[in-house]
Symmetry: C2
Subunit: 214 residues, 2 copies
DNA sequence: GGTCTTCTACCCACTTCTGGGTAGTCCCGG
DNA sequence: CCGGGACTACCCAGAAGTGGGTAGAAGACC
């Protein structure tokens, strides 16, 4: 982007409240222009293809298409747009996935609006921006990062676990042996360094694993 | 309040983003005046005592003093102020507690800003306002409400369960026998009609049971 | 071709949970 | 004073989960 131009920002958040609020706030800054808002990733993507924003501010928790999955779509469709994720959570998983998927920034929703503006300016300038707490999380994750992304199968197991299924039922559902289901569960615990089932449930809920019904 | 006067609104939310956004949006309506904002219930209360707002818009999820507990404080200090709770959750528990504590309205954060304005107008007029989904929840709760309130002890157990404790550990922590802990857990399941531990965890998370550390 | 990961599956001993009871004490409200 | 809820505690047999292994097949990567 040329210096002196307004920074074109696109907002995506499923809370109209946040969307309108953010828009209203950002519009008080004359070097920032909100070129569009969307309530979900899908419509946001279409909009983005038309308006080609400099910066995309996107909520990480969205129903249909999660923010994290959406990052990839945006990166392929409009690679020049810098993506900043907005989140309520400072969870490792979210943060590192976002970064790994190519987000240029990650800010928590409890930061001040000034900080959001800084974030927008910073990423528009080609740099990356992470709110204070986030950076720490990234650093600590550096050490043991290879340990936690789950395999698809493990996600299946976690989804069923979340639904309250026992190993036996999980095995039946997935058409595998009970022993295998147990193995997967063991691996999950080892991998995530979570000792208890309760912990796994919380992990699943925190990390957007969806309840498997099948 | 006299007709023709602006509706004085006080906002309390621990997310500066929501706070600023809401303020910016509400200020575009000339019959509404945001007389103050606060990031937590405590400071909000002090502020409210000074400015005597007509309507208080308060987030239900706040760290120190939860929004629900705060309702009572506000009701005693400034009974004339109408309270509208803002929440991300449509959980029965939250909604019914809010209403029982004396909230005049309950709106979900995923509603449009227009609806928020309607809510403010409605409660300022002495009526109550509940966003669509909320009313249903209240009604359904009417039928089977006696079935689920937990006893304090059961909440303790649930909190520890949430922390991933086994019956044995729970028993030690609470200074009771393991058998008793098991009995409580059984009663919880029976009472809530939840068969699995995973289900209990989700229930606990949904209903604001906090993780016991002790 | 060798290495690595993923998914599968099994062994074993041990612990924990489950679901069905019963039952005593305490305290509150009618 | 009696009923009922809350909290406590125990019995039991069977089901489920834990934690430690090992290991083969398939596919990906170099």
């Amino acid at each position: 982007m040329k210096k002196g131009d307004k920074i074109k920002v696109l907002l995506i958040d499923n809370h109209p409240l946040v969307l309108d609020g953010l828009k209203a706030v950002l519009e008080t800054f004359h070097h920032i222009e909100v070129v569009g808002t969307a309530g979900q990733a899908q419509t946001g993507l279409e909009l983005a293809c038309q308006v080609r924003p400099d910066v995309l501010l996107m909520d990480i928790n969205m129903p249909k298409l999660s923010g994290i999955d959406a990052i990839e779509l945006f990166k392929t469709q409009i690679p020049e747009t810098r993506i900043v994720m907005l989140s309520m959570h400072d969870s490792r998983e979210y943060i590192s996935s976002s970064v790994m998927h190519g987000a240029a920034g990650y800010i928590l929703k409890d930061v001040s609006t000034d900080e959001i503006v800084s974030a927008i300016e910073t990423v528009a300038d080609g740099k990356t921006y992470f709110s204070s707490g986030v950076f720490d999380v990234l650093m600590e994750g550096q050490a043991s990062n290879a340990a936690d992304p789950l395999t698809p199968r493990e996600r299946d197991i976690l989804g069923l676990l979340l639904a309250g299924k026992a190993n036996k039922t999980i095995a039946e559902t997935l058409g595998i042996s009970q022993a295998t289901a147990e193995t997967h569960r063991k691996n999950l615990k080892k991998k995530l360094k979570i000792a208890t089932t309760a912990g796994l449930i919380r992990y699943a809920l925190d990390h957007g694993i969806s309840t498997k019904t099948l």
